[in-house]
């Protein structure tokens, strides 16, 4: 008859918890016996149920600590006496034993824990960033179905993305592929708060936005669909922060008025009274979008206004102003949405070819945008930290392997005394687990500080990074990594260490063949060399990129120039005309030039190298080329002194003069249209417009009127008069410009981008961005200069003061950050590899001391012996270097987007990194070789 077997898992658990003595055996036997009886009387189903329940109750009793009677020794067999403690106790014993063994060599153990801590910690810290920046679901109802709609214009090759004109957005809004389409547009207004009129950030958005985000206002209501359409009843929704800080969190604000002063096209600054209809919930932020080269929140609004209250650009397909998010309609695919939006864009181009030339529209899931912006950097950093962890594992495994070999004798003795291989394996694995567990705790500490550090040193605003921390997912990841690490470095040595043929070991006095036991260690070390080389090449490439960036000549002086950004007074409070602005600038200039050490003062409406975009302008060359289509170029408004203050040069022609300024202020620019407004152009624009001719005296139009019509009618038209027939009343009159000089190219926006075609005109608003070139340390001169500006007009404040060297630092921050982090990783890897190599060679020398002694006594010279050691080291390093080189060439192609001016397969970097690794390898062989030199043949042979 077949004996019924109780539920296996419960029985296993029970056996694990019960003392592995007679007592436990008897209980297990009782349970099985009762189970068998129950199967007969009640059936297998109920019996199993009973067994499981009772097993758990017994486990509940025996898993708790408590006094248990000892089994009388007379009743136990000898092997039971050896295993008298419970299974749990025996694990505890293993742990205690492991701790004892490990503390016997505290140096090595500390090194292992430190290495593991750094490896696990670095991985966890990077993962916490990846989790926060890339893996969290986006803040939408259907995060995977939200897309950004963007436009691109063939005439703007360098700009990845352009905002949407309002009429284009209205066309996209009708697409059937989307269930919601929402526009966002930030602005600034002056808010009437008692006697004050502070400037506040507002954001206009469509009512659909909150549907896409699944957000409800904390108080009152959000915008209604009818408020998306032009000129609704004026309403405002407060941000939670504004409500708390400015309204004291008063819950009766809904329904109250709030007055703002804003600019109305054609009318100037006008007050507008809004009704407060709601308050957004705490922590509400607009979604992050692709903004230029960034993925970020466009603006943090203090107040929110409906789209219908945004006047600018109504009916103007030339005003790129909005950003749009949309949610795919249920059942609509991304490809269908793309096709539909493209078709709409083609329709726009067909109906308005002049202003929509080269227009194409794109639909990209926000998830992809997020990944595209942060995926590469984080991926590379993660790969680097994973490589580090592998190096650490290899290193630790080699160390433990060495220790296992050194313990061969101990293990052999234990085996011959009856310890099973499984038992020894378990002991060795417990040792690894103790090391790994301690390493993991150290790793968590490293990760904690690493995450804080990462947040602090990461340049710019990486959306989501602020939320990075040791969250549950991150802790799970750390636990997984630790477990994997323990397995990676623990299993090999444990298996290896218990594979000992005990008879051989005991017979040979604990020594084995010369190389045999070392082969796995050699593999591990060669692997470390390869991984380290790959890391080293990666960091080398980034360092070279950084050096390349710092070497870029931006075309202006960055060492001794300081930029001051000023805040003009609110225009309705203190109206300033162009004369006032220029007069203010003249006063500031006079005063600053009186400060000792100031070489020149200028003004220009551009925040050089601030990462922002410069102003674009539509221009059409009128001379030299057949009147053709418009081209968009950069425009910088300046006042006299700008070029000198930046230390840049006029290549041809002349700079602006005071006479030009006076003439501009008199407003007679149209008195002789064919003379044109004086303009400077850069070399890049000269090369683009007039590649084969002298650009001096050439003319071009600025504006989006039809140039041919303008050409034909401009002579008979005066400012203030109605536009001639054919001109578009919605746009300003075109300005004819005439080139008076050619300026050196400046990399004004980004160090990595060649200067775009750019022209300069005089502009009174430039008065609020002052550049000062000094002789000496700019930082030392800052306070004095600031005071001089402050003294000119109490209504005009200094918003920021920054030496341009800081702007360069800022512009190179990303590359610098990556280079530093990767260098840190690579440095760590190289040190580890050096130590690993040293450890293996030193160990090999120890083991081969006898062989060397014999060789020497047979007449080998010491130099030959030490050469043997060095060659041994090279035999490890060279294959590692070859493999690492291949790895680097294969893997680093992914990093090319992070590099500047250097190819991912740059041979020089590869060679330098290889040389460094080779040098470290030779260094690591040096001590063991010296040791081999000191081998005293007679002493060693006598010991035998």
């Amino acid at each position: 008859m077949k004996v019924p077997r109780p539920p296996r898992l419960s029985q296993k658990l029970l056996a694990l918890v019960l003392p592995s003595s007679l007592r436990g055996e008897a209980v297990l036997g009782d349970m099985e016996e009762e189970y068998g009886r129950l199967v007969e009387s009640e059936g297998a189903f109920r019996a199993r149920w009973w067994y499981r329940r009772q097993a758990w109750r017994i486990i509940g009793v025996y898993a708790l600590p408590g006094e248990r009677p000892a089994d009388p020794l007379t009743l136990l067999s000898p092997s039971e006496a050896a295993h008298r403690s419970s299974a749990l106790e025996s694990w505890r014993q293993d742990v205690r034993h492991a701790v004892r063994i490990l503390s016997r060599s505290p140096g090595v153990s500390a090194l292992v824990v430190l290495a593991l801590g750094l490896g696990i910690g670095a991985n966890t810290a990077i993962f916490s960033a990846i989790d926060a920046v890339l893996l969290r679901p986006l803040p939408f109802v259907h995060p995977d179905r939200v897309v950004q709609i963007m436009e691109r214009r063939a005439s703007l090759p360098d700009r990845a993305e352009v905002q949407l004109p309002l009429p284009n957005f209205a066309d996209y809004e009708n697409a059937t592929s989307f269930s919601h389409v929402a526009a966002i547009r930030p602005d600034r207004v002056y808010v009437h708060e008692g006697d004050r009129r502070p400037e506040r950030q507002i954001v206009h958005f469509s009512s659909a936005l909150l549907d896409v985000m699944g957000v409800r206002p904390a108080l009152g209501r959000a915008f209604l669909p009818e408020e998306d359409r032009p000129d609704p009843e004026p309403v405002v929704v407060l941000s939670y922060a504004y409500w708390q800080n400015e309204m004291g969190g008063d819950s009766t604000v809904v329904g109250r008025p709030l007055t703002i002063t804003h600019f109305v096209p054609g009318e100037g600054y006008r007050p507008l009274t809004l009704e407060i209809v709601g308050v957004m919930p705490e922590g509400f932020r607009l979604p992050a979008l692709e903004i230029g080269d960034d993925y970020k929140v466009w603006a943090d609004g203090e107040l929110f206004l409906p789209m219908g209250l945004w006047w600018w650009g109504r009916g103007n397909r030339g005003m790129y102003a909005l950003r749009a998010v949309a949610e795919l309609a249920p059942g609509a695919s991304l490809s269908r949405a793309k096709a539909e939006i493209s078709a709409i864009a083609r329709g726009i181009t067909r109906n308005d070819p002049d202003r929509s030339e080269g227009l194409s529209a794109r639909v990209i899931p926000l998830k992809e945008i997020r990944r595209a912006h942060h995926g590469t950097v984080l991926g590379v950093l993660w790969a680097a930290s994973a490589l580090i962890l592998l190096v650490v594992c290899a290193n630790v495994a080699a160390l433990l392997l060495g220790r296992a070999l050194a313990r061969e004798r101990e293990l052999a003795v234990r085996t011959s005394l009856g310890a099973s291989r499984g038992r020894l394996l378990r002991q060795l694995l417990v040792e690894s687990a103790v090391l790994g567990g301690t390493g993991a705790v150290a790793g968590l500490a490293v990760a904690h500080w690493g995450t804080i550090l990462l947040k602090r040193v990461t340049p710019g605003d990486v959306h989501g990074l602020a939320d990075a921390g040791l969250h549950l997912e991150v802790l799970l990841f750390a636990a997984g990594v630790s477990l994997l690490t323990i397995l990676l470095f623990g299993i090999g040595p444990a298996v290896r260490g218990t594979k000992t043929h005990r008879a051989n070991v005991l017979r040979s006095g604990g020594r084995r063949g010369v190389a045999g036991g070392l082969r796995p260690m050699r593999w591990l070390v060669a692997g470390q060399v390869a991984l380290s080389l790959a890391l080293l090449v990666g960091s080398g490439l980034l360092v070279r990129s950084l050096a390349g960036l710092l070497d870029v000549d931006p075309g202006f002086d960055t060492e001794e120039t300081i930029r001051f950004v000023l805040t003009p007074p609110p225009p309705f409070r203190k109206p300033m005309e162009n004369e006032d602005r220029v007069a203010f600038y003249q006063a500031v200039r006079d005063r600053l030039e009186g400060v000792p050490g100031v070489r020149s003062v200028g003004a220009g409406r551009i925040a050089l190298l601030s990462g922002g975009m410069s102003d674009g302008a539509d221009v059409t060359p009128a001379d030299g080329l057949p009147p053709g289509r418009r081209v968009e170029v950069d425009w910088i408004g300046i006042l006299p002194g700008f070029l000198d203050a930046l230390g840049t040069k006029i290549v041809r022609g002349r700079p602006f003069s005071e006479a030009d300024v006076r003439r501009e202020l008199q407003g007679n620019r149209m008195s002789n249209p064919w003379e044109g407004i004086p303009a400077l152009i850069n070399q890049s624009m000269a090369a683009r417009f007039w590649p084969d001719a002298d650009p001096l005296g050439k003319r071009f139009y600025w504006g989006i009127q039809d140039p041919e019509l303008v050409e034909a009618t401009l002579g008979s038209w005066k400012p203030g008069e109605p536009y001639p027939e054919g001109w578009d009343n919605r746009y300003p009159a075109p300005l004819p410009l005439q080139v008076v000089g050619v300026v050196r190219d400046m990399r004004s926006v980004d160090l990595t981008e060649a200067a775009p075609p750019t022209f300069y005109t005089l502009n009174a608003f430039a008065a609020f961005t002052i550049y000062v070139r000094v002789a000496g340390d700019p930082f030392a001169m800052l306070p004095g200069l600031r005071g001089a500006i402050d003294a000119v007009d109490p209504d005009i404040g200094v918003e920021s003061a920054q030496p341009m060297s800081m702007a360069v630092t800022h512009a190179t921050a990303d590359t610098r950050f990556q280079a530093i982090l990767l260098s840190l990783f690579a440095g760590l890897a190289v040190v580890m590899t050096g130590l690993g190599l040293f450890g293996v060679l030193a160990y090999a020398v120890n083991r081969r001391a006898r062989e060397m002694a014999v060789r020497m006594s047979l007449g080998a010279r010491r130099a030959e012996v030490s050469r043997m050691v060095v060659l041994d080291g090279l035999k490890l390093a060279v294959p590692g270097i070859l493999a690492g080189g291949a790895l680097a060439v294969a893997g680093l192609r992914l990093t090319s987007s992070l590099l500047y001016g250097v190819s991912p397969t740059d041979p020089l970097t590869l060679a330098a990194a290889s040389a460094l690794i080779l040098g470290v390898s030779l260094g690591a062989t040096w001590l063991p070789a010296l040791r081999a030199l000191r081998v005293e043949p007679m002493e060693i042979l006598r010991e035998e």
């Binding site: 036997g29 016996e33 758990w56 017994i58």
Partner: protein, 113 residues
Amino acid sequence: MTTRNADLGEFEQLVLLAAFRLGEEAYAPDIAQVLEDRAGREMSRGTLYGALDRLESKGFLEFTVESPTPQRGGRRRRRFHVTSEGVQALADVRTVMERMWEGVEGRLIGEGA
């Protein structure tokens, strides 16, 4: 030898009494069976083995080892004996209980009805 009552918990008393009642056949499953028959509900084996261990520590129970059987998955079995200290403890408890009950049995019946 006298035994303090505090040394014998209530459940332990029942277990010890069941073993005493079973005499030469006091195996753990049978002790459980007796208790289940008289208490009318399923006995937790965890509580039972805990109590057996404690009684053994206190010297009220001891066991001899019997050879394995196939029904037990080839495991050996313990046969319990109540020691003389155990018998004494049971007797002591009984004496105390009887003294406590003297003259109140009638009331219990009256109020319980």
